[in-house]
Structures are given as C-alpha cells and as structure tokens.
C-alpha cells in the first residue's frame, strides 16, 4: 500500500477504535447509573424493585410529616391520590418542601415497603411541578375516572 494511504488508514482505524470503545463504555456506564421513576401506585402494587436506586415522587400528604425529636430524621407520605408510600429521610429538606407540594425522592425501597431516601428534591419555583409527578397524577386520575365510569355503567 502507498505509505500516505497506509498512514491515513492507520489514523482512521485508531479514531474508529477509540470512538467505539468510548461509546461502548458510555453506554455501559449509563446502564449502571440510571434511576427509574416509580409512582406510589406502582410501588404499592409491587412493580418497583427493592434495594436498587430508584426515584419516587408524588404529592406530600397533609399531616403526614413526622420529625424525630432528637435528630434530623423525618418521615412523610407521598401520594398520587390512589395509593401512598412512606418516605424516610435523614437530613435537611429543601426550602420548597411542604405539605401538599409535589416532590421527587431518590433512594431505595426497603423490605418493609418504606422508601429510604438519600435525596429529596423540590423544585425552585412554586408553580413548577416535576413532570414525572404530574404524569403519575394524570395516570392515577385516569384509572379513577375509569373506575367511576365502570361503576356508573354497572349501576
């Protein structure tokens, strides 16, 4: 082969190898580090895996926030108005965390069905609703409507 072509081929092969190795590694790392979102209904139905990092979210149930009197431990329930899940967290909650507000928590579901959060996110704008939460609420709303419809039609 012509030496210039040989060199060019060498460079191109090197680039292809580096890029495909990089993309392979990227995709592998992505597989390891994604956090799936589950709604309270999905968690109560048993669709969510235990002891794996996931996200859960919904509206904080009024009157459910309980703080420990000595430490920063806190528990509260989140709901999609179908089912609710208890979230346990130790630390400082964000400024916009309050009852009736949509939140997303990141953490693991333990064997008792309590969500052990290591991070709680509330958004920085009170008008803003996390899209996952609003969709979970919409889905729950749909099933309620369907139930009402079927109940009405059976009556």
């Amino acid at each position: 082969m012509h030496p210039v072509r040989k060199k060019r081929l060498f460079v191109i092969v090197a680039i292809v190898i580096i890029l495909s190795a990089a993309i392979g590694l990227i995709l592998y790392a992505l597989q390891q580090n994604i956090n799936l979102f589950y709604s309270p209904s999905q968690i109560v139905m048993g669709d969510a895996p235990h002891d794996i990092n996931i996200r859960a979210g919904g509206m904080v149930v009024k009157g459910s926030v309980k703080r420990h009197s000595e430490t920063l431990a806190v528990t509260f329930d989140v709901t999609d108005f179908q089912h609710s899940v208890t979230i346990s967290y130790r630390g400082i909650l964000p400024d916009l965390f309050r009852e009736g507000q949509g939140i997303v928590a990141q953490g693991k579901l333990d064997q008792n069905g309590v969500f052990q959060a290591n991070q709680v996110l509330a958004k920085h704008d009170e008008k803003y609703m996390p899209p996952e939460v609003s969709e979970a609420l919409r889905n729950a709303q749909k099933t309620t409507d369907r139930k009402i419809n079927t109940e009405q039609s059976t009556h």
Binding site: Q32, T71, L72, K127
Partner: protein
C-alpha cells in the same frame, strides 16, 4: 405608548434581518457590488432597532410599568432598582430578548470589521448572521413577545422576581453566558460562508480564530460565574450538579475548545479543513440545543422556565432548519475539499487531532447522559434520570487523559517532532511530578486518586515551564527580551492550560478533603467540624426591602485559639410577595478553604437544622476558570490578527 414602540421596533428589526439574510446573498450570486455593500448598513440598522427594544423594556421595568404582562410577572415595586434592571432577563421572554440583543451586538461587531475581509466574504458572513437573527427574532416576536400589555385592568403591583434570581450572580451570569453562546454563531457564519463561497482555504480559519477565542472566553467566564452562583445561592454547597442546563452550557464549551484547537491546525497547516468546518457547525448546534433544552421544558432541571410546547417546537424547527441546512451545504461542498498536506504521527497536527478526538468523546459523554432520559422516555421504557455517578465515572478518566496530553502537545513541532525534543522533558517531568505528588500525598494522607491527579497537575506545570524555558533560552538574546517577543497567542495558551490545572486542583481537593455535617442545633449549642468550632450565638428576626428573615449568628473558632476566625450570619428569608422561602448561606471565603453555613428548617422548640461545610480549595475552581478566560482573551488579542487584518 413606549411598549408599543418597543414591539414595533422589534418587528421592524425582523424586516431588516430578513433583508440582511437575502440582499447580500443575491448580490453575491448576481455579482452586484451595490447589493453586497448593503450588508453593513442593514446590520447596523437591525442592531439599533433591537437596542431600542431592549432599552424600552428596561425602562418599563425601572419605571414599574405593570401594564406590561412580562414586567408584572417578574418585578415588583418593592424590588431594589438593580434587580429591577436584571429582572429584564429574569424570565423566558426577556432573556430571549437579551439573547437577540447580544446576537445583534456580535453582528454589528462583525459589520464594523467587515472592511478587513475580502469584499465578497464579509457581506456573506453578515448574511448568514442575518439568517440566524431572522430565526431568533421571529421566535421572539411570534411566540414570546415581552411587550404584551395587560389592558385595561392594570395590576396594582407585580408578582415579583423569583427570589433565587435576586442576587448579584444573576445580574452578571446570563449576559456573560449568552455572550459566549451567541458568539459561536460568528464562527458558524464564517464556516457557512466558507462553504457557500467554496473558499475553504486557511484564510477563513484565520478570520474565525479571534472571534472564536473571544466567545470561548466569555462562555468560560459565564460557566464559572454560574458555578459560583449555584455554590453560594442554592445553599447545598455544590459547585456543579450535572444538571441538564449546566450540561447545555458545558457541551458548546467542550466543542468550542475543540474548535479553537482545530482552527489553529487549519490556519497554520491547512489540514483538517472539513473537520473544522463541521466542528464550527456542531458547536453552534450545541448552543442551539442548549437553548432548546432550557426553554422547552423537556428535561427536568432546576433552571427550567415554565414549559410551553409551542416554544419547544419552534426552537426545534429552528434547530433543524439551521443545522440541517448547513449540514446539507457541507455534504455538497465538503467532497471538493482536499488536504494536500500530509503530516507525521508525531507532529503537532497529530497531538491536536488527539485533543479533538478526546474532546469529542467528552462532548458525546455529556450529550448522551443529558439526552438519555429523553430517548428512554420516547421509547416508552419509563421515566429515568441519569445521576452524577455516571458523569463522574465516565468523564473523569477521559478528562485526565486529555490533561496528560495537554502537557505534551505544546512541546511538539509542526509536521514531525524529533523524539529528542519530547523524550527528555517528558522523562524529567514524569520523575519530578511523580516525586512531588508522592511527597504531597504522603504528607497530607490522601489516597490513590489524589496521587494520580496531582501527578498530572505537576506534570503539566513542569512541561509548560520546560516549553516556555526552551523557547526563551533559544538564540543569543537574553531571556527577558525573548520572553517579551513570544506572541500573546502563546501566553494565552499557557495561561489557559495552567487555568485547567488550577481548576483540577480545586476539584480534587474539594471532593476529597472537604467536611460536611447536617446537625440539629439550638442557640447556645456548638459543633466541632474539621478542627473548627462553630458556636450558635443567637437568632434574630430582621426585615429586608421585600422580605422578612430569621438570621442566625455563629462564631467560628479554630481549635485551641481563643480569637474567632469568623462570624457567620446565615439567613432564612421569607419573600412576602411570593410567600417563598429562601436560604441565604453565610460564607467565610479563603484561598485554601471556605467555611460555609446554611440554615435548614426550623424544627420544634428553638432548634434548627443546620448545614455546615468546610470546603477545601474550592475557590481554585473558579480561579482556574478566570485564568482560562484571560487566556482566551489574550489569544484573541494577538497582534497577528490585527496585522493581517490591516494588510
């Protein structure tokens, strides 16, 4: 009346932008000199009209004209005056106007320099900028006009600016960031012009270089300011969150860095021509993608503006038209480009090629991580988020590798590097940096990761010094006259490279040597963290211009020292108009450490949740950013560009 003039002026500027997009191009194909010469006045008129709109919106804010919907949503009569001005870009519509205003600023800068370009190149560049301006002006006018009125029911007072944005950081961060984002449209315009005129020789790279370096410098400063703002304002003490919107600004920066380097090769050696054009298009596309991600609300992020699907679709169409159009042009033209020059595998070309490959990989890493939730959702696989562990584990090794090569690259020579030039300094630096890092790590008791990082840091510092020294000691003149003769371009590079290293030191130390605690404290309590004693003195209520606050006072002592190190007064503010609670962290900044304290929630009794951090070398992260920015500006101001321009 004024807001109507503002709106009218915007519409008129769209008309001029459209003419700017068409007239010079017609002139180019019809070989009509008169039409080509129209480009400069058209640009200046368009920019002046945008300036008028911008001033009118600012006046509406400062005079509390709540009959304007956008003002009533984002301002309040109680707001301090400087925040009234910065509230102009506190929401979607106004920040888009700021974007267009800065774009028109860059257009006029090019228009004023147009005589330094060949007579059929400058006008085409302006025409391409006209196309971009037309896109953004119509986006502004048709989907997000900031001049919509609330008549006849004028509200008594406004809804106030989001408290998070009532801060010095927000006055400066968006304009500087946009200067960078939008500045890349100039590099894009030069690249597209090269494709249109078919003049894909080295000259376009020479013209585009100072513009690219300048916008890169602004983008660097903008990202640095954003990181600093997030650090002290969000109250979590983090300086980077891999948030989609941060990534949106980081991707053009990575691509822009690659572009800076490949422009150098294209200019000096005439190779990588088509790759450089492609990179200019990609950098600009990533800026547009960033705008799309932030403004469409498709991704969950702390920065999201309230979502509006029509805006998302408009900007997506804009993205497809501009990027698709330029890529089509590229596909037609690039086949004609042939690099006649070859280069050796040890030449500087090869090192810069490596730089480009690694930067492309880094950009891809961030791009995939940012878009993965969208892809996942589109395929109906569920809602996911990609966390910081992904970015940290993939980005860090590649970035470290890049920094290792960053040390060697500057030593290399064009075409082929004699091994003797590289091997000696590299061996010496390797031994020296390994030794220094070992001593440091053993002395401070750090781990393996710190050893690797510090070896890389010392490696770059040593090699940069060797390179500089070999350049100034060559020849018979003294060191100082030689040092003065070296071009600004070279010192710019040196400064930017050292900036990277300074940032790296900051990142490494802040992540391995920081201490944090979340505690439950009442007035009178103390806590001891990392050799500092934090004493909670008292809590008081204070009143600000548009908020009431609980303010705590902490006195900090160093263990064994009776004199206090600092008095920290963190606040919990309640903004009265929006009824929104905000944490105001208190900081004692230092060259080697920051003391950082923020209030959590009020618990039962007199107790408060309190966050305390001792952050090691965190300032270095931003110091490095400032060094990079200065390096970029120094490179942009190289005498060479001015001289060539005059010729």
């Amino acid at each position: 009346m004024l807001p109507e003039i503002g709106q009218f002026s915007l519409i008129l500027s769209l008309f001029f932008a459209l003419s700017l997009a068409l007239v010079p191009l017609i002139g180019y194909w019809a070989r009509n000199r008169l039409l080509l010469e129209m480009a400069q006045p058209l640009t200046l008129i368009m920019s002046t009209l945008v300036l008028v709109s911008f001033v009118i919106l600012s006046v509406a804010f400062i005079t509390d004209d709540f009959s304007v919907l956008y003002v009533s949503q984002n301002s309040n009569s109680q707001l301090p005056i400087w925040y009234k001005f910065s509230a102009v870009w506190g929401g979607h519509e106004g920040s888009l106007l700021l974007w267009v205003f800065i774009l028109s600023g860059w257009c006029s800068a090019v228009a004023l320099k147009v005589r330094t370009l060949p007579e059929n190149v400058g006008p085409v560049v302006l025409a391409v900028l006209g196309i971009v301006s037309t896109g953004f002006l119509s986006f502004l006018i048709f989907t997000s006009s900031p001049f919509v009125r609330l008549l006849p029911d004028i509200p008594m007072d406004g809804g106030d600016l989001n408290p998070l944005l009532q801060d010095f950081g927000l006055i400066v961060h968006p304009p500087v960031l946009y200067m960078g984002y939008v500045g890349f449209s100039v590099a894009f315009a030069f690249a597209v012009t090269a494709l249109i005129t078919g003049n894909l020789n080295a000259s376009w790279a020479r013209w585009a270089r100072p513009w690219t370096a300048c916008s890169w410098a602004f983008l660097t400063l903008g990202i640095t300011l954003g990181s600093w703002w997030a650090y002290y304002e969000l109250g979590w003490g983090g300086w980077w969150f891999w948030d989609p919107v941060e990534n949106a600004s980081f991707m053009p920066w990575l691509a822009g860095t690659a572009l800076l380097h490949s422009l150098a090769v294209t200019e000096k050696r005439g190779v990588f021509k088509s790759w450089t054009v492609l990179l200019a298009i990609f950098t600009f596309s990533l800026s547009l993608l960033g705008a799309f991600l932030v403004r469409s609300g498709v991704l969950t992020s702390v920065h999201s503006f309230a979502a509006d699907p029509t805006r998302g679709i408009f900007i997506l169409v804009l993205l497809i038209v501009l990027v698709g159009g330029s890529l089509l042009l590229y596909a037609i033209r690039a086949a004609q480009v042939k690099s006649s020059v070859s280069f050796g595998l040890t030449g500087r070309e090869a090192w810069l090629l490596l730089n480009n490959i690694l930067l492309t990989v880094l950009t891809l890493t961030v791009l995939l991580g940012t878009l993965y939730p969208l892809i996942f959702d589109a395929l109906d696989l569920g809602k996911i988020s990609v966390g910081a562990p992904y970015f940290n584990s993939v980005f860090t090794p590649v970035a470290l590798l890049l920094i290792v090569f960053m040390g060697i690259g500057p030593l290399s020579k064009w075409h082929n590097t004699p091994l003797s030039v590289i091997v000696g300094p590299c061996l010496l630096s390797m031994v020296l940096s390994g030794l220094l890092a070992t001593v440091l790590v053993l002395w401070c008791g750090f781990g393996l990761l710190a050893w690797v990082s510090f070896t890389v840091v010392f490696w770059v510092v040593c090699l940069s010094f060797f390179d500089w020294f070999s350049k100034v000691s060559a020849g018979s003149k003294g060191i100082i006259p030689r040092a003065r003769q070296l071009p600004r371009n070279y010192y710019g590079m040196l400064l930017a490279h050292l900036g990277i290293v300074v940032t790296l030191v900051g990142i490494v130390l802040v992540s391995i040597n920081s201490h944090e605690a979340m505690l439950r404290l009442s007035p009178g309590d103390s806590a001891s963290i990392a050799g500092y004693e934090f004493h909670f003195d008292r809590l008081e209520q204070i009143k600000g211009p548009n908020y009431v606050a609980d303010r705590a006072q902490f006195t900090v002592f160093k263990a064994g020292d009776p004199d206090p190190v600092a008095v920290l007064r963190p606040e919990k503010r309640m903004f009265t108009t929006r009824q929104q609670v905000m944490t105001e962290a208190a900081l004692d900044a230092g060259f080697t450490r920051d003391l950082y304290l923020s209030l959590g929630e009020k618990l039962d009794g007199a107790a408060w949740g309190v966050r305390i951090y001792v952050k090691s070398f965190v300032r270095w992260i931003w110091l490095g950013g400032i060094m990079m920015m200065l390096g970029g500006l120094l490179a942009a101001l190289d005498k060479r560009y001015q001289r060539r321009a005059e010729e």
